[in-house]
């Protein structure tokens, strides 16, 4: 009985915002420009959206549409991360509450689509990460590759890759210098989804931690069909063109408006009083222990 538990819920008679309420709701969200009480009344998501528009209004201008493959990947991530109602699911792995996908915004050197030398593919990638805020801490970063349809779905592919980070100085015309590089091999089976993720966290974490927001990388790779560990020999270089990869960042947003898993003052805010009492008990026992140790 939810009433006995202090709740107050009943079978819903669903109300929906009528069409003509849209203008009224939009008017309600037309906040005064100065920060203060008005903005404090607006839910955090709506406040974020309002902040993005020019002069504080929700922007109605069309936005640059992302790559369709990237959008498909993120929709899939959304379905795995949240219910149909939009409630975050519990998930394994890093405790992220933010995931950002960036497509390369420009290239230095070889142009996209330029024929590779032999079987070696080479691509320069420049990512602008201005959308990452100072309160978003990097947990994991991934280069996300997708294959075009010419690669058979049952293929086993081995790639030998060379990844290097380049310093990018927009104020200078001097060519970028290579700051860090590594070579590695990657083996994967091309399945139905045709996505390959390459973890580049060790490369990017120092840069993002120091608030570097323009990431310039060069990636050279050669991909061959076959599995060096298995019975098949490496042969038949993969001629399929790899779409320049996207950069996926798994982040922990430490701001107040973000959802924090495992926070007793977070989800539902139901544990606020309980957490306070529990913390009180814990502090007493810890305080006694600390006091004993000091003595």
């Amino acid at each position: 009985n939810p009433r006995a538990q202090g709740g107050s819920e009943k079978a819903p008679r669903v109300l929906a915002a009528p069409q003509d309420a849209a203008s009224e709701l939009s008017a309600l969200l037309q906040l005064p420009r100065e920060r203060g009480q008005g903005r404090a009344l607006v839910p955090p998501l709506l406040q974020v959206l309002a902040d993005r528009g020019p002069e504080g209004w929700p922007s109605q201008a069309p936005r640059l549409q992302p790559d369709s493959r990237a959008l498909r990947y993120m929709k899939r991530l959304y379905r795995m991360s949240a219910t149909k109602e939009g409630i975050p699911r519990a998930h394994r792995g890093p405790p992220y509450n933010t995931v950002r996908l960036f497509t390369p915004c420009g290239e230095c050197g070889r142009r996209r689509g330029e024929p590779a030398t032999g079987d070696v593919n080479s691509v320069d990638l420049l990512f602008n990460l201005d959308r990452v805020t100072a309160l978003e801490h990097l947990l994991k970063s991934v280069l996300l590759y997708s294959f075009d349809t010419s690669v058979p779905t049952s293929s086993s592919i081995t790639c030998i890759c060379h990844l290097s980070l380049k310093e990018r100085d927009f104020s200078s015309q001097v060519c970028p210098n290579i700051s860090h590089s590594v070579a590695f091999s990657l083996h994967f089976d091309v399945r139905k989804r045709r996505w390959v993720e390459i973890d580049v966290t060790p490369f990017l974490q120092p840069l993002i931690a120091t608030n570097r927001r323009n990431i310039h990388m060069a990636l050279n790779f050669t991909c061959l069909m076959g599995d060096p560990q298995g019975s098949t020999t490496l042969q038949n270089p993969v001629k399929a063109t790899l779409v320049p990869p996207s950069l996926l960042l798994y982040l922990n947003d430490t701001s107040e408006q973000a959802y924090h898993r495992g926070n007793p003052l977070g989800h539902g805010r139901q544990g606020a009083a309980r957490a306070g009492r529990d913390r009180g008990k814990g502090n007493n026992s810890q305080g006694k222990r600390a006091s004993r140790q000091r003595r």
Binding site: R3, G6, G7, S8, E9, K10, P12, R13, V14, L15, A16, A17, Q19, A21, A22, L25, S26, P43, P44, L45, L49, P58, P62, R63, L64, Q65, P66, A70, L71, M74, K75, L77, Y78, S81, A82, E85, G86, I87, P88, N97, T98, V99, R100, L101, F102, T103, N128, D130, R131, D253, E256, Q257, A258, Y259, H260, G266, H267, G268, R269, Q270
Partner: protein
Amino acid sequence: NENLKAAPPTSPSNLSDYLKQFALPQDECELHPFRLSFSQLRWDRWIVAPQRYSPHFCRGECPRAPRQRYGSPVHTLVQNLISERLDPAVPRPSCVPAEYSPLSVLTIEPGGSIAYKEYEDMIATRCTCR
């Protein structure tokens, strides 16, 4: 006990009126579902998911003794008494959300990047009188 001592003896004809003050209000404080779609706000250009958002809301009257039913703090009962007996200018407790759920949102950012974010306290799930 205080009411019994202070109130005058009730006659049978006044008993129902007397008991009404202890009854639960007809339109009691409850959680009401409410659903909207971002297309109604013309925000579906950059909010890819969810298609609909159900924040819900709380509405209704609060009883004189809300503590057991709504888990209200003792202060709520005290404020109720103050409003009723000492100073009507002191507002009576209101029906407000007590618990919330977070919401995951997928948006298209300026510049064409895509962001998945989880926001705190976006959906009311329980009401209280406070």
